[in-house]
Each structure stands twice: as C-alpha cells, then as structure tokens.
C-alpha cells in the first residue's frame, strides 16, 4: 500500500489490509468486531477516502518531490531502524507477558457467560456480552465517544461551510503555497 504512488491503488491495498485485519478478528473469535471492522473501515472510512481522492483529483505522486532525495532515504533508513527495534521489543515483551501468565499458547476456554457489572467481563463471542460491557462498565466512555462523534460532525460541517470564505480569500490573495496571511485566515 505504502509503495504505490497512485492514491487510488493505495486505497485499494488499504481495503485489502483492513479486510485482512477483519479476518484476524474472526480468527480470534471476535466476530462482532470483525463485522464492525468491515462496516466501519471498508464501508465508511475508505469510501470517504476514495471520495476525497476523486474530489481533489490527486494524480500519482510525481514531479519534483517524487524523486527519492538523500534526506528521504535517510529518514526511511532511520524509520526502518526504529521499526526494527520496535519489532524486537515487541517480541521480547510478548515473551515477558506470556511467561508472566505461564501458559504461553494456551487459549482459555470461551464461555457464553457474562459476569456482573463492573467486574472482570469474561471474553465471549456473543454480541450480547459486548453490549453488556459497553452499557455497564464503560457507560461513561460510551457517552463521551458519542459526544466526540457529535463534535466531529459539527466540526466537519463548520469546516466545509467555511470553504466559501476561504475561496473568496483565495480569489483575492491568489494561491500562494508557502506564504500565509494570518489576518485573512482569521477572518
């Protein structure tokens, strides 16, 4: 995905990996999350991405910046180094974690039971236990998440409404990347 220069291709690969993650969820017996993953990501988020890509009509990443400069090679190298470190660390950590629970590859049995509110909610396949957990132990975070979505919605509306003003200013100032006029932005 990250290697493709064309955004549309990249988005397609992205969908692929998201579906892959969904399948991993299935493997982990988290069916509800798998469904959610497909619905939210593949269904909503990626559609949004594609929509924007088409709206902006961004072509393949090309031109002056497209060539790999020395700087970007260096940064890529450092990033690879960091990522490698990350991998090593993760493996080490998983070693620590699994040793700590002293049953490295033993999946505990999944039961259909649900426990009392607030206590440890036992992992289960059912959507019911999922909802139970959400509306008991995680009631407040759920509300906050709801507000977050509301805020995001309002924010998006405001941002897209403001584009008219920005257009008007753009016509006056002319598009000039790299320089800004803070006052016009404030208005």
């Amino acid at each position: 995905m990250i290697l493709s220069r064309n955004p549309v291709t990249a988005a397609m690969f992205m969908i692929l990996s998201l579906v892959g993650v969904a399948s991993l969820f299935v493997l982990l017996e988290a069916f509800f999350l798998a469904v959610l993953q497909v619905l939210v990501y593949a269904g909503a988020v990626m559609v949004l991405f594609l929509f924007i890509i088409m709206l902006m009509d961004v072509g393949p990443d090309s031109g002056k910046g497209a060539k790999l400069s020395k700087k970007r090679i260096l940064s890529g190298f450092i990033a690879l180094l960091g990522v490698g470190l990350l991998t090593v660390l993760t493996l080490e950590y998983s070693g620590v974690a699994t040793v700590a629970t002293d049953s490295a590859d033993h999946w505990q049995d999944v039961t259909e039971e649900t426990s009392a509110a607030g206590a440890n909610i036992v992992f289960s396949k059912s959507v019911k236990s999922f909802g139970y957990g959400l509306f008991t132990k995680y009631m407040l975070p759920l509300q906050v998440a709801g507000f977050l979505l509301l805020a995001a919605m309002v924010g998006v509306i405001v941002l897209s409404k403001k584009t008219d003003d920005v257009d008007a200013h753009n016509k006056a100032d002319g598009p000039s990347p790299g320089t800004t006029n803070p006052q016009s932005e404030e208005a």
Partner: protein, 626 residues
C-alpha cells in the same frame, strides 16, 4: 473585643485617616478634628477606667483565650488578637497607662493648637499625632506580644514621621532616620524574643503566658527576657541605644513632650511590666544595673547641654533609667508610678520649654535666654514646679515616686542605690541649672528680651500639669482603680526600714543640687562657666562618652565592609548562581526543546516512534522491572 475598647481604638484611627486623606490642605479643621478625637479618647478612656463592673472581669483564663479574632494562622502558629482592658493580669497597669496616655495626650493636643498655629504642615502634624494616639492605645490594650509588636512598630513610625516634621532641615531628617534605625536594632531583639517565646511556650498571649509561668516558674530563661527587653532598650532609649533620643528633639516640642517624654519611651517600661513574669532574677538585676547606669550617665550628659530640649531629653533618659532600675528591683508598681508622675512633670517641662521656644522665635539655647521669669510668669512658675518635682522636693509628686525607688534600692541593692543617689543629686543640679540660666538673670538676646507670655491655650495645659506634678504624689488624691497598679509595690517600699534616712538624704540631694547650681550658674554670660572651671569634666560630658563616634566608626568602617563582602557574595551566589543560573537552565531546556521543534510532520512522526519504542522498552523491562 469590648465595644467601648473598639471605639476607643477607632476614634484616633478614623481621625488620622480623615486628616491624612481629606484634610491635608486644611490645617485648621485638621487640628480641630485631631483635638476633638483626643478629647473623645480622654472621655471614653475615663469611662472605661471607672465603669468597671464585675461582669467585665472573666472568672478564669479560659474565657480569655476563646475570645478575640484569629489574626494570623500559619499551620500550627496561630495568633488570636484582641484588645482588652480587663485582662486580669494587667488590668491595673493597662488602666494606669491608658489614663496617662489619654490625659497627657489630650493636654498636649490642646497645647499643640497654640504651638503649631502658624505651621504650614499643621495637617500632617495633627494626622501624625492621631496615628500616634492610635498606636499607643494599641500597645496599651493589646493582649499578646505579636499585636504589641505591630503597634510597637506603629509608634516607631509615627515617632519617625513627627520627628521629621521639619523635614526640610537636615538635622530633623537625619534625626528621624537615626531614631528609626536605632529603634530597629532594639525591635529586632524584641522580635527574636517573641519568636523564642512562641517556641518555648507555644503562645504569645500574655495572660496565657502568665498562667504557664505561674504553673511552672522554671521555664523562664534569661535569654528570652533579655531578648524581649531589647524592645524596651530601643524604645526607651536605654544603654546602649540611647543615642537617638537627644537627636529626636529636632521634632516639634509638643511631640517631644508627648512621644519622647511622656508616653512612647515609657511604653518600654509598660512592656516590661506586662511581661514581668518572664524575667529571671539575673535578667532583673541586669535591667536594674542598666537603668541605674543610665540614670547617672544621662545626668552627666545633661550637665553640659546648651539646648533646652536636649537637657530635658537627657533628663528623660535618666528618669527612664530610674524606672528601669525600679523594675529591675522587682518594684514594677513603683516604676509605673514614677512613669505616671514623670509623664506629668516631664510633659509639663517639655510644654514649658515649648512655650519658651514659641515665644522666643525658636531660640533653644539657654545661654541666649535669661530673665524669662519676668516676661513669661506662668510658664516660668509652672516650669519651676516641674523642676522641683523632678528634683524630688519634699511632698511634690517626684518626691514620692523617685524616693520610693531610692528607698527600694537602698534596701534591695546597695550599688544600684549609690548610683541612683548620685543621679538624683545630678538631676537636681542640672534641672536647677536650666532654670537659673533660662529664667533668671538678664535677657541675653534680642528675641528673648521681646518674649511675651503664650496664649491661654498653651498655658492652660501647663497649669493643669503643674497642679498634677505638685500633688500627683498623694495616694489619697488618686482614684482607687487607677492607683491599684502602684498600690502594692508602693506599700512594700513603705514598709521598708530606713525611712527617715531616706527623707534626709533625699532632701539633701535636691538642696545640694539646687544650691550648687545656683552658685555656679547664678550669674552666667553667653558661655557655660563649667568650660573654664572644669574643662576636662566638661569635655568628657560633652562627648557623651563618644557613643555617637563609636557608632559612626562601627557603621563606616566595620558594617560597610561586611556589607561589601555580603554584596559580593550576594552577586556571586544569589544573583549569579541562583537567579541567572536557574534562568540559564530553563534557557538550556528551551534550546533543546526548540531543536526538537522541526516544523515538519515527519519530524514529529519520528518523535512519536521514539516514544513508542521507549514505552515498549519499558514494558519489556529494559529499564528494570516494574
């Protein structure tokens, strides 16, 4: 706080605030406001003194501690402040001082109306007087050391303000600074004493302190007593901080009378009387010796002064020495009695000198006066009564109070008695010297020859004070509630042996002093005859034992150098290392922080990665297990 007591304190405060805020340009109204306030204070305090009812006396100490306002609270440290006249430990002392302050204060306010009539800074002057009355009443009524200290500083401030009334003269502004700084030295000791008291006893409330002391007398330490006595030494200008009082005479004469003779300097004695239970016998005998030495030393200094007010100032020092000696002998009632009579006759003499100075166009040199007895008969006669009283002429007020001190000293501490007795002879000698030179003989300058009697607003207070100076010694003439503070100790002295001896010795002292000075100063020219007859003695006295010179040397040569060294240290460590250093550290961090700030998204992404790696490394136990 009792409502009348509150009102009593509020009156001068409101008066001072009104004058200083609104009436600065209107001296006449300001003076009337201030005098009216003083009159109201007098009436109200008389009412408080005489309206004692049984209900106003708390039965036990617990009720005292409960009342009052929490004035300051820092963790365990708590100051409950209150003003009260009915403190069982100090009721009598408070009442006595309250009477002296309000009564003498009122007379001096009235006198000031005449004395300051033509002064440009009248409003400032009367505002200062009101502040002083406020703070002095505060000292009288406060029930704990911290509050006393606050008002202690306030009287210091008003004294500073009033000494510097003629601030355009260098003498007055220097003197006010000197008074302020010298007082700070004493007050610093006082402050240390208060802190020590709190440390040892856990309270600064005077009645609680006295209860603690009563339950366990062994807790008193000489150190605390002497530290607290530092306040007294500074305020009452005792040895070795006596240097400020003579210079303080640069202020207006009524101020000298009120602050530097009758009340403020006497507040030191009052403080001692309030904290008497804290004194060990060592501290007491130290105070006694200190006072006796002061009595003699100031007498010698007064012997050669030419300035009428400075003579009186040294005489005040000497009399304060007597009071300190009486206190040191354990006769605090006698000390307070002498305080009261001294307030009368010294207030009288200061006001008399004020009257003289006023009519002689601010001539203060007694060798330029002379013959004033004929020109100003009322002033001269009342002044004479003051001189007689301070000299201890039989059956005048000074005779009762001073000879009581002498008798007590005779029986309790012979060295102190000898010194004090010499001081008594000297007192008579220099006071009569002043009288002979200034009021007898022929006028020796033009202004004096044209002098005329002061207006009745000035002579009135003189007459009243003269009457009190003459008859203030008779116990029968005092109201019982007022005399209660003096009563016990006076009767202790009364019961001592050697009474007849004392009468004879006392009479001898003032007769010898009077006749001796008559012989020497009966006929004088423009110069002090002592210069020719005993030049060595004159020089020695005139130098005042070089105290000013020693202090000057100390300040210029030692203190300045220490200050210079401290300044270097301060520059190096506080300013350099701590202030600049901490700023430098902050600056360093900001430089580092700034370098992290790239302004490019990729940079931030890398920082994110670093954070993630660090977190995982922590989770994997690279930094040690959690």
């Amino acid at each position: 706080m009792d409502i009348t007591v509150g009102t009593l304190l509020l009156i001068p405060f409101v008066s001072a605030a009104t004058i200083l805020l609104f009436l600065r340009r209107n001296g006449k109204i300001a003076s009337y406001v201030s005098v009216a306030a003083a009159g109201a204070i007098l009436l109200l305090s008389l009412q408080i003194i005489f309206s004692e009812t049984a209900s106003s006396v708390p039965e036990s100490g617990d009720t005292i501690a409960d009342s009052g306002v929490t004035w300051l609270e820092i963790a365990d440290f708590k100051v409950v402040a209150d003003f009260r006249i009915d403190d069982p430990e100090a009721r009598n002392e408070s009442k006595a001082l309250l009477f002296v302050v309000s009564f003498v204060g009122f007379l001096i306010h009235v006198f000031s109306l005449g004395y300051m009539a033509d002064d440009a800074g009248k409003a400032r002057y009367f505002g200062g007087l009101s502040i002083f009355m406020f703070s002095m009443l505060g000292i009288t009524l406060a029930d704990n050391l911290v509050l006393i200290f606050v008002f202690w500083e306030l009287v210091g401030f008003s004294s500073y303000m009033l000494i510097a009334h003629y601030f355009h003269t260098k003498e007055a502004s220097d003197a006010s600074k000197k008074a302020f700084i010298v007082n700070r030295v004493g007050d610093f000791g006082f402050l240390i004493g208060i802190v020590l008291t709190y440390w040892i006893f856990g309270t600064v409330n005077l009645s609680e302190l006295s209860q603690l002391m009563a339950s366990d007398p062994a807790r008193a330490t000489t150190g605390i007593a002497l530290a607290l006595a530092c306040g007294f030494i500074g305020k009452s200008a005792q040895f070795p901080l006596q240097v400020w009082l003579p210079d303080a005479m640069a202020g207006p004469t009524p101020v000298s009378a009120l602050i530097h003779a009758a009340t403020m300097v006497a507040a030191g004695i009052y403080l001692l009387a309030r904290i008497d239970f804290l004194f060990t016998s060592e501290a007491l005998s130290f105070i006694a010796l200190l006072g006796a030495a002061m009595g003699l030393y100031a007498g010698f200094c007064a012997l050669v002064q030419r300035d009428i007010k400075k003579i009186l100032a040294y005489s005040t020092l000497s009399q304060l020495g007597y009071m300190a000696a009486a206190f040191g002998l354990g006769l605090e009632g006698v000390a307070l009695f002498h305080l009261a009579t001294h307030a009368f006759f010294k207030g009288l003499m200061f006001l008399g000198s004020g009257s003289v100075i006023h009519s002689c166009h601010h001539e203060q040199d007694i060798f330029k006066m002379g013959g004033l007895r004929r020109r100003m008969p009322i002033t001269a006669n009342t002044f004479l009564i003051g001189v007689l009283a301070i000299s201890g002429v039989n059956f005048l007020s000074g005779y009762f109070s001073k000879d009581a001190i002498l008798l007590g000293a005779y029986n309790l501490n012979l060295p102190v008695f000898v010194v004090l007795y010499l001081g008594a002879i000297l007192t008579a000698f220099y006071m009569f010297r002043l009288y002979w030179i200034a009021f007898c003989g022929e006028p020796r300058s033009k202004h004096v020859a044209e002098a005329h009697e002061s207006p009745s607003v000035m002579t009135g207070p003189l007459v009243i004070l003269a009457v009190l100076s003459a008859f203030g010694g008779f116990e029968a003439l005092w109201p019982e509630t007022l005399f209660a503070a003096f009563h016990d100790d006076l009767h202790v002295v009364h019961g001592m042996p050697g009474h007849m001896w004392m009468v004879v010795l006392g009479t001898f002292a003032w007769v010898a002093g009077a006749l001796g000075s008559r012989r020497l100063y009966g006929q004088v020219g423009n110069e002090d005859p002592l210069i020719e007859k005993a030049p060595a003695l004159f020089q020695l006295c005139y130098s005042k034992l070089f105290f000013d010179e020693i202090y000057n040397f100390y300040v210029t040569s030692i203190q300045q150098r220490v200050a210079r060294i401290l300044e270097v240290l301060e520059l190096l460590f506080i300013s350099g290392l701590m202030v600049r250093g901490s700023a430098g550290v902050a600056g360093l961090f900001s430089l580092i922080g700034k370098s992290l700030y790239l302004g490019r998204i990729h940079g931030y992404a890398f920082w994110f990665l670093v954070g993630t790696v660090a977190f995982l490394a922590y989770a994997a136990g690279w930094f040690g297990h959690f």
